[in-house]
């Protein structure tokens, strides 16, 4: 029993650890010559993410406690695609439900271009195991108005 507990703790620790930066390989694989438009958008979006989103939503999109909601496995991101674009463009305030948990905080508008918004959407929707049915385009971002 004691042993099982130790092993369990150990595995949890290892999981929580993330001490290697795996992201690099992710990004590198997108910078090969034969990039599809989606691959390019994701690679560009990774740079935007690191600059603008990382601090709150964290490098692996897990968010932070009850303050910043996760992006990885987020039902809000998949179910509320337009709202997600809107949040990046214009900011977000007030209560939202993400994976059954309530978050009530403020995200300021980031001042990104429509291209950067599309790129970062494609990045967060196609990274950490997240998957997307349809690529976010600049036109789609443009169509989301205040």
């Amino acid at each position: 029993m004691k042993n099982t507990l130790t092993i369990l703790t150990l595995s949890l620790l290892l999981l929580a650890c993330n001490s290697k930066e795996n992201k690099k390989t992710d990004m590198a694989s997108y910078t090969t010559e034969k990039q599809t438009p989606l691959e390019k958008s994701i690679a560009d979006g990774a740079i935007v993410y690191k600059d603008f989103c990382n601090q709150c939503h964290r490098p692996k999109g897990k968010g932070l406690g009850k303050t910043y909601p996760p992006l990885v496995g987020s039902d809000w991101l998949t179910d509320k695609r337009t709202e997600s674009i809107h949040a990046i463009k214009y900011g977000l305030k007030g209560e939202i439900q993400v994976n059954g948990k309530t978050y009530d905080n403020v995200m300021s508008p980031l001042g990104l271009s429509d291209q950067e918004t599309a790129d970062v959407m494609n990045y967060i929707m196609n990274t950490w195991g997240n998957t997307q049915d349809e690529m976010v385009t600049v036109e789609e971002v443009k169509s989301v108005t205040k």
Binding site: K2, N3, T6, I7, T9, L10, L13, L14, A16, C17, N18, S19, K20, E21, K23, D51, F52, N54, Q55, R58, P59, K60, L64, T67, G91, K93, N105, V106, S108, P109, L110, G111, L112
Partner: protein, 373 residues
């Protein structure tokens, strides 16, 4: 045997983890509230800076670029604000009236500006006078260069000392390995100017070839809190660390605060960028936080409105939605208390000329702490 092996592996994995942890930390306390909180200004989106005019009215900057005068319960938009580069952490930032405002009328403010070399923006300090609800006689005092499209680390707070100098902070613009340790470049610095924008000849690097002459200290990351100590007259700052390693520092002319060569923090991903927390010729912080609280805004408590807090330091926490009271003995933090718990993302905390503490909260407004229940 098996058990000790497991324990061994366990210890190693702890070590490998780099999850920042502070030894001998001073625990933060939640004490019985001896105050109430009332909302003074409603419906603000990101109230970055606030300052007061002699008539008791408040000037409030919105990061998006609006300047608001709040008087007798009414907001008035101040016109002719320079165009700001509202991107990432940049926008219209701090504002502060000159200590002799009553005679000279100068209002100082910082903002991200696209002026000058390169795509993007960088932090700028200007001053202006307020006439008929508009800024006039705008003078540009300092603009950091080159511009950058990165979203991070514009600084910036403004403070005056009692010798006619103005200090302001500019963060390292997300360029950790290029800017903060290089005195020929802007960013990751505290600057000192005469109040009219001239560079003081006794600035520490004034006679150093190629150095940016306005630099007062370097090796800073992203300072967003600054206040003059009411008794010693020294300028105190705090700065954001990465993951862990937010710091409180006291400014010393020419000092190097070590970013990123020494730090108590790690990368956001958990990896290390330095093993060192000390190096010769670099300053130790007065206090540091692990984990980070994301400090923004700070003020010494003076006067008699809050006898228990007098002489101590208040620091806003963007991340944990409260204001932290750092109790001081001299330059040492001896106790910590949570104030205004769950108030929201604290962008700024200032003591007004009326002696009351004001807290600016993102997506909300400005609150006043009233002593007594």
């Amino acid at each position: 045997m098996k058990n000790s092996l497991l324990i061994g592996v366990l210890c190693i994995s702890f070590l490998a983890c780099n999850t920042p942890k502070k030894e001998k930390n001073i625990a933060i306390n939640t004490v019985q509230k001896t105050y109430s909180i009332e909302k003074i200004v409603d419906e603000l989106s990101n109230p970055w800076g606030m300052t007061w005019l002699p008539d008791g009215s408040m000037l409030i900057t919105e990061k998006s670029g609006e300047l608001i005068q709040f008087k007798d319960g009414t907001k008035t938009e101040i016109k002719n604000v320079p165009e700001v580069y509202n991107r990432g952490q940049g926008g219209l930032l701090d504002i502060k009236v000159h200590p002799d405002y009553a005679t000279n009328g100068w209002i100082y403010f910082t903002y991200a500006s696209t002026e000058g070399e390169g795509e993007g923006g960088n932090t700028k300090l200007s001053r202006a006078k307020l006439k008929e609800n508009a800024l006039s006689e705008i003078e540009h005092l300092y603009k950091a260069s080159p511009n950058s499209t990165r979203g991070q680390h514009f600084g910036s707070r403004i403070e005056f000392d009692d010798k006619g100098y103005v200090y302001f902070s500019i963060g390292e613009r997300g360029d950790r390995d290029t800017n903060p340790q290089d005195k020929t470049r802007d960013g990751g610095k505290i600057y000192r100017l005469h109040d009219d924008g001239r560079v003081p000849e006794d600035n520490p690097f004034f006679n150093e070839a190629d150095a940016v002459k306005a630099i007062y200290t370097f090796g800073n990351r992203n300072p967003q809190g600054m206040d003059q100590h009411p008794e010693t007259g020294e300028i105190w700052i705090h700065e954001h660390g990465p993951k862990g390693g937010d710091e409180v520092n006291i400014l010393k002319s020419g000092a190097n605060y070590g970013w990123p060569l020494i730090s108590y923090g790690v990368n956001y991903s958990g990896t290390k960028f330095t093993d060192k927390t000390k190096m010769e010729g670099m300053e130790d912080p007065i206090y540091y936080w692990v984990p980070s609280i994301a400090p923004c805004g700070m003020t010494f408590v003076t006067g008699d409105k809050y006898p228990d807090w007098k002489g101590n330091l208040l620091v806003g926490s963007l991340k944990f939605n409260y204001v932290e009271l750092l109790k001081l003995e001299g330059n040492k933090v001896v106790d910590r208390e949570k104030i205004a718990e769950d108030i929201g993302r604290v962008r700024n905390v200032q003591q007004g000329p009326d002696g009351f503490i004001y807290i600016a909260v993102e997506g909300d407004g400005i609150f006043r702490i009233m002593p007594g229940k």
